[in-house]
């Protein structure tokens, strides 16, 4: 599904990713963990095609294609979905309208017929059950005035509707109370499928109590320094990041 090799990326001249390797197979859920500043969000942004990053070296292959050569909307239409850490507000644009435009852009790309308002609404209602979202939020402008939890649920709703092949959750747990976390996680779990891969980017292992990963990777100083099963996350929870050596041999500050 996704294969990243020796990826180097910088922001305004600062190299953030320094030779990152990662392979995610179809149907797998991988967690990327790491302290602040380790490059987690950069990785998510690079995969989605945010243009503030400069790729210095390396390759990303997605379903056999060169992901880095694709425009952001093309990646999305090919099935890459990023659940934003900070979902963006779009005043005046109704949530339902936004989602329909997105779905139809993707369907058109896939050679499917665009959905009309009625079919779209019935699809939407079905998907909304997954995230236990209030229907009133559909008529409100995209993310405007949403609480933190509502924004994150909205991201998962979008993910459910857009039916991606590769979903990247960027710190989806940040700012959520335990109830919202549970709802969001069960939404994500409901979307686990043999042909869908999920990359969970998180600082804390807490989310992984609910979304149980197949693999856990520790990102430090721009590289994956350790990979393991779920028990690695638990170990990080218990001991922090301090015991793992960075690629340069330097130890990062204790987990915070």
């Amino acid at each position: 599904m996704l294969e990243i090799r020796n990826l180097h990326a910088s922001v305004q001249g600062n190299e953030i990713l320094r030779g990152l390797d990662l392979a995610v197979g179809a149907g797998e859920v991988h967690a990327i963990m790491g302290p602040n500043g380790s490059g987690k969000s950069t990785l998510a942004g690079v995969l989605a095609g945010r243009d503030s990053y400069e790729i210095r070296a390396g390759s990303v292959s997605y379903l056999g294609r060169d992901l880095l050569a694709m425009a952001p909307e093309e990646r999305a239409r090919e099935g890459v979905f990023l659940a934003f850490q900070y979902p963006v507000e779009i005043p005046g644009v109704r949530n339902v309208h936004f989602l329909k435009a997105a779905l139809n852009a993707i369907r058109k790309h896939r050679g499917l017929e665009e959905l009309d308002a009625l079919d779209f609404l019935s699809l939407l209602r079905e998907k909304m059950k997954v995230v236990e979202m209030d229907e009133a939020l559909l008529q409100r402008p995209v993310n405007e005035g949403f609480s933190g939890g509502e924004k994150k649920r909205n991201e998962i709703l979008q993910m459910a509707v857009l039916d991606p092949r590769l979903a990247i959750l960027d710190e989806t747990d940040s700012g959520l109370d335990i109830d919202a976390l549970r709802v969001v996680a069960s939404g994500v779990n409901a979307l686990r499928a043999p042909d869908r891969s999920i990359l969970v980017v998180t600082h804390y292992q807490r989310l992984l109590d609910y979304i149980v990963p197949d693999r856990v990777h520790v990102l430090l100083d721009g590289r994956i320094v350790r990979s393991g099963g779920r028990e690695l996350a638990l170990e990080l929870e218990a001991r922090g990041y301090g015991w793992i050596e960075g690629p340069s041999g330097a130890k990062p500050p204790a987990g915070h």
Partner: protein, 481 residues
């Protein structure tokens, strides 16, 4: 990853799809303006003496006036001696029926999406088609006249309803009001007239479609709408012009009068040729629009979507004379490339418990400069008056400008005036968010801009809301890289 061109940086050429020229012979006066030209226009239209006198008074006044320069607009001095003040398609005298309209003119309007045959017309819309300086056709006149509604060209109104024209012409915008209104009063060649008698709700939208065709001519039309007690009308104007390298002057006057319990909704979709990317050509649009809420509980609502013209200078205003009368102004103004707009409104509260609402949405892209200029004036007798103003500006890219000049003058302690303003920039974040959901950058900008304008579009009659939305899309085409 290939570095994408920053999606908002580059404002490419906008496609102006109404830029064609109709090959039609026209009768034009030589360029320049003096009393002879004014007399010539009046004679050409077979006007009565009083009308000529009115024009001449305006002309003499104008001759002593100077072009106003207070607006936040930069443009070279206009040579009023080089403009042609009258142009008319050379056809048989005005056709007696719609079927006799010159086929070339008919084709022109069809190309613009305005069929002049009633059976093909948009359901529920009557059109007065003004080509260069004259009205060439007015649809549904018979049907409207059954209800006592007069809807015809201004020239015809002068001939057939002189008592109404004499009573109301200049009663809202006096011929001496300002430089451009005085000029218009001297040389106006045609326009639309509408009268809705007491108690009648006009069953269809009335509209005037203005088309400039001839080169080097100015267009000076006048619209007068009078709505009697308890009556209602919804009116729309649209306008386009060919692509030409030189600038053309358009100086119109619109006057509205609403008596007791009457209401007028006046909507404009202004799409004059905006000039090209380098700022060559385009219409100079200097327009005076004012409504008088003369009666108690009367209501005048202006809605404008301004996407065209190289320069826009207009302030559709309301004089709230009648107690409990209501004035509204809803505006979307878009300036792209090198367009400049200085637009807004004046709400003059005279009567007691009068209310006004101002919603202005300015969008600037490319090197566009967009100025909101609005005045809210509450006179001493306007007890309990209320105003609420909102001015929002949106910037697309970082080379354009948004400016706001609110003037508030309150002489009454029992009134409430509120003003809110905001400036936002379409963020790269918003665009990226849309793109990450599969939406193209062009569609993303159009969606975000539309969201920004949505509360103004809601005020437009439905057919035109769709039109306005499309227009904004066209106008922004190529505004992302």
């Amino acid at each position: 990853m290939k570095p994408d061109a920053t999606p908002l940086d580059d404002l490419a050429n906008r496609e102006y799809k109404y830029g064609f020229v109709t090959p039609i012979e026209s009768e034009t006066f030589p360029p320049g303006l003096d009393e002879e030209v004014v007399r010539g226009i009046s004679a050409r239209k077979g006007e009565p003496e009083w009308m000529l006198d009115w024009r001449l008074r305006a002309f003499r006044h104008w001759s002593g006036m100077r072009e106003p320069r207070w607006a936040n607009l930069k443009f070279p001095r206009i040579d009023y001696g080089a403009i042609i003040y009258f142009a008319a398609p050379r056809t048989r005298s005005r056709p007696g029926s719609l079927d006799e309209v010159d086929p070339e003119l008919r084709r022109t309007y069809e190309k613009l999406g305005i069929p002049l045959r009633e059976q093909e017309a948009l359901a529920g819309v009557a059109v007065d088609a003004v080509f260069d300086s004259v009205s060439v056709a007015t649809t549904f006149q018979d049907k409207l006249s059954e209800l006592g509604i007069v809807f015809c060209s201004f020239s015809r109104a002068v001939r057939e309803h002189p008592e109404l024209v004499r009573r109301y012409l200049g009663s809202v915008v006096p011929p001496t009001d300002n430089f451009f209104a005085a000029l218009n009063s001297a040389v106006f060649s045609d326009g639309s007239f509408c009268f809705v008698p007491r108690g009648v709700r006009c069953p269809m939208e009335l509209s005037t479609y203005f088309r400039i065709n001839a080169a080097n001519t100015g267009q000076f039309e006048r619209t007068l709408i009078v709505v009697e007690e308890g009556a209602h009308v919804s009116y729309l104007e649209g306008c386009t012009a060919p692509i030409r390298d030189e600038n053309q002057l358009h100086a119109a006057v619109v006057e509205l009068v609403a008596l007791d319990d009457a209401s007028i909704r006046y909507s404009t979709v202004q799409n004059w040729y905006p000039g090209d990317r380098e700022g060559r050509g385009g219409i100079y649009n200097f327009v005076t629009k004012r409504g008088k809420c003369a009666g108690r509980r009367s209501k005048i609502s202006w809605t404008q979507v301004e996407t065209g013209s190289a320069i826009t200078w207009k302030y559709p205003s309301c004089i709230l004379l009648g107690d409990e009368s209501v004035g509204e102004f809803h505006s979307v103004a878009l300036t792209a490339n090198r367009q400049q707009a200085d637009t807004g409104t004046k709400m003059i509260h005279v009567g007691r418990n009068t209310r006004s609402t101002i919603v202005s949405k300015g969008i600037s892209a490319g090197l566009g400069q967009n100025t909101y200029r609005g005045a809210v004036k509450v006179l001493r007798g306007a007890a309990g008056a209320r105003n609420h103003s909102r001015c929002d500006s949106m910037l697309i890219g970082d080379r354009c400008g948004a400016h706001t000049f609110p003037y508030i003058d309150v002489a009454n302690a029992t009134s409430t005036v509120e003003h809110e303003a905001s400036v936002s920039k379409i963020g790269e974040d918003q665009i990226f968010y849309c793109r990450q959901r599969g939406i193209s950058p062009e569609d993303a900008v159009s969606m975000i801009v539309h969201g920004f304008c949505t509360e103004v579009f809601r005020e437009l009659p439905m057919e035109f809301a769709v039109e306005a939305q499309k227009l904004l899309q066209v106008s922004l085409e190529g505004s992302v890289g």
